[in-house]
């Protein structure tokens, strides 16, 4: 088993004919992902990468029955595209795009919660189930089917955790980038629930960073609900207060959201901490041995 995506997931790519979508769709197809078509308004009826292009998600629903949407449209249009996918009845929406206005996300989040739809991202690398399906921009080659579930707010930092667990032979069940924005579609807790229920997952790596309180909330949840070992690394221990560290959500505001606070809370709730980025894999191995 795995979480969120597998080789039977039928994927619709929104913003399909753009350069980033094309590059990553090609790689996803090569990886074995079942992409069934794409949407680019105004280009309906064309064929791209050998797959049908539609003007609307609703039309695609009728013709190719996708159950997941992968969004690459530019930030100004993401609210529109996410709500379109949700309205058409897609159950899982993954939005890769960086730079979506926060107020757009407030509306989107409210709406998808009402509809009971899962949104991953925006500003994230996507979701991969190694050996089965890759819905995102992560390099497929560093992954290996295995037993570790990975959740992260950062792209390249996820790859570090993946590489280390691959090198140590453990591999991954699924890897989920929830994104670096202040209002993510899914939280750590949403994904922890899925990994806890997944038989293939033996341990969970949670990569957090400064800003907000998602890690603290996750810590509390883990204490009460997660039986599997959780190993966490928090980035930004040397970040100065009040500065946005690349990600829109990575900012220590009013003295809140520091790495030290998060680490203390996680430890208090029984989460194992990797003190350094280079020790994530080792820590997982140690906890599982």
């Amino acid at each position: 088993m795995s979480i969120l995506v597998n080789n039977s997931t039928r994927v619709l790519v929104q913003g399909f004919t753009g350069s980033q979508a094309t590059l990553h769709s090609e790689q996803a197809i090569e990886y074995g992902t079942n992409i069934v078509g794409g949407v680019t308004p105004g280009k309906g009826g064309q064929t791209h990468l050998g797959l049908p292009v539609f003007d609307t998600v609703h039309e695609a629903m009728k013709k190719v029955q996708p159950n997941a949407a992968l969004i690459f449209v530019p930030a100004p249009f993401c609210k529109d595209s996410i709500l379109e996918a949700a309205d058409a009845g897609i159950e899982l929406i993954i939005c890769i795009t960086e730079g979506v206005p926060t107020l757009d996300m407030l509306v989107v989040k409210e709406k998808i919660d009402q509809l009971g739809i899962t949104l991953i991202g925006p500003n994230c690398p996507g979701v991969i189930t190694p050996g089965e399906a890759k819905l995102g921009i992560m390099p497929g080659s560093i992954h290996k089917p295995g037993s570790i579930g990975i959740i992260s707010r950062s792209g390249t930092l996820t790859y570090e955790a993946v590489k280390q667990t691959t090198d140590l032979g453990m591999g991954q069940s699924s890897c989920v980038g929830i994104g670096g924005d202040p209002i993510p579609g899914s939280s750590f807790i949403d994904i922890l629930k899925l990994f806890e229920a997944d038989d293939q997952t033996k341990a969970i790596v949670m990569v957090g960073e400064i800003g907000g309180s998602a890690e603290e909330e996750a810590a509390e949840y883990i204490k009460n609900n997660v039986t599997k070992p959780v190993i966490s690394y928090i980035a930004g221990q040397t970040a100065p207060p009040g500065k946005r560290m690349g990600h829109a959500g990575a900012i220590i505001a009013g003295g809140k959201g520091t790495a030290a606070d998060k680490i203390a809370k996680l430890k208090e709730c029984g989460v194992e901490i990797a003190d350094s980025l280079v020790d994530i894999g080792k820590k997982v191995e140690e906890v599982l041995s």
Binding site: I137, I142, A235, T238
Partner: protein
């Protein structure tokens, strides 16, 4: 993006909020004219910088005649104001706001933020204004109200009435506040604010509500649809290197160490800084060169990092995901040749074709230490920084 007080108040005015009559000057010779135009016999002069804490640092003054206003402007224009919120260099004062003087009966507090936990715009109001709101929250939690705005509903009257109760407003003031609240919610949504603070919101001696200050932050992600706000940007309030980086689409934050960092991805960039610290060094900056790390971007990043003269060594940490490491290595070499880097450079490449990339760097003839293990690369950079 932050706005100056006078810009915030212009937006307040646009949304029907009560603000003082004021004029912004950039030349001290205009002080007399401004005072005359505003009228009255007392004025408040305020140095315009983005940082808070201006009052305690001498950046705000009550003056009794136009000569004093001129003197204040002469003193501050072109100088840097240091407050507890700025660094030691402070922020440049390039304009002064002259306002009519308001007689205050009581000071209140009002702000609105995007609360990440509840995922809603949240108004925070308190009958205790002009003080540190965190202290009020701690010592007198009953004097503070948090009221969420449903993104699908916008401003609703009862929310304003609830806040009014905690602000201890009389029926007439509650009516005034309801109108203000409506304006503030619409302002927040229509202009893509991420923070709005009125500290203090006052009750004048005439019993009316009045916004004495205006602090506004705008969501940078939304600037593409806020042309009018874009024009309000004042780069003089930012670190010059951070501004230069942002113009080039690079995320850069200046720090006080001596190991320059160039990394792809924001999380990994923070992780790299932490790793340097872990091994006893001090990072000079945060820099996310972006997912692709092309020659052009790497060259720009080198220029910005090397502009900081404290930097003794540069650590480049690239996780080549989709882009192959051999291509990245060639980009790094070309960028180093283009920029003319004279200090040691340690490069760690990981991902696709990392070994080939490493060989290319080693055989390039320029002084690059190529170490593909992050711990060893960080240790080497720390050693070279001493």
């Amino acid at each position: 993006m932050n706005l100056h007080e006078y810009q915030g108040k212009a937006l307040f005015k646009e949304y029907g909020l009560p603000v003082s009559k004021g004029i912004v000057i950039t030349d001290s010779n205009d002080a007399h004219k401004a005072c005359r135009e505003i009228g009255g016999s007392k004025w408040v002069v305020k140095a315009q910088v983005h940082a808070g804490g201006r009052g305690k640092s001498g950046g705000v003054k009550l003056v009794n005649n136009p000569d004093e206003a001129k003197e204040f402007a002469q003193n501050w224009l072109g100088k840097r104001l240091v407050t507890y919120q700025t660094d030691a260099k402070g922020q440049l004062v390039s304009s002064i706001l002259i306002e009519e003087c308001t007689d205050i009966d009581k000071e209140l507090y009002l702000s609105a933020v995007i609360d990440r936990g509840s995922r809603k715009i949240t108004f925070i109001g308190s009958s205790e204004g002009g003080v540190n709101i965190e202290e009020v929250a701690e010592k007198m939690p009953e004097k503070i109200i948090y009221e969420e705005i449903d993104p699908l509903c916008g401003p609703i009257g009862f929310k304003a009435r609830k806040i009014s109760k905690v602000l201890e407003l009389n029926p007439d003031q509650t009516k005034q506040f309801s109108k203000m609240f409506n304006g503030l919610v619409n302002l927040f949504i229509e202009k893509d604010l991420s923070l709005l603070e009125i500290n203090p919101l006052v009750i004048t001696s005439g019993g009316n509500l009045h916004c004495l200050d205006a602090k506004i932050n705008i969501d940078s992600n939304a600037l593409f649809r806020q042309k009018e706000i874009q024009d309000m940007h004042d780069p003089s309030q930012e670190d010059p290197r951070e501004y230069e980086a942002s113009k080039n689409d690079l995320s850069y934050v200046s720090l006080d160490g001596n190991i320059g960092c160039m990394v792809n991805g924001a999380g990994l960039a923070m992780g790299t800084m932490d790793t340097i610290k872990h091994f006893g060094g001090n990072p000079a900056n945060f820099l996310d060169v972006g997912g692709t790390a092309t020659q052009e971007r790497v060259a720009k990043a080198f220029k910005i990092i090397l502009d900081d003269k404290d930097v003794k060594v540069v650590l480049v940490n690239i996780f080549g995901g989709i882009v192959r490491c051999d291509l990245i290595a060639e980009g790094i070499i070309a960028a180093i040749n283009e920029v003319g880097v004279e200090i040691p450079v340690v490069v760690r490449l990981e991902g696709n074709n990392a070994d080939i990339g490493s060989d290319i760097l080693q055989n390039s003839g320029i002084e690059i230490k190529s170490i593909n293990n992050l711990a060893d690369a960080a240790k080497a950079a720390v050693e070279l920084s001493k």
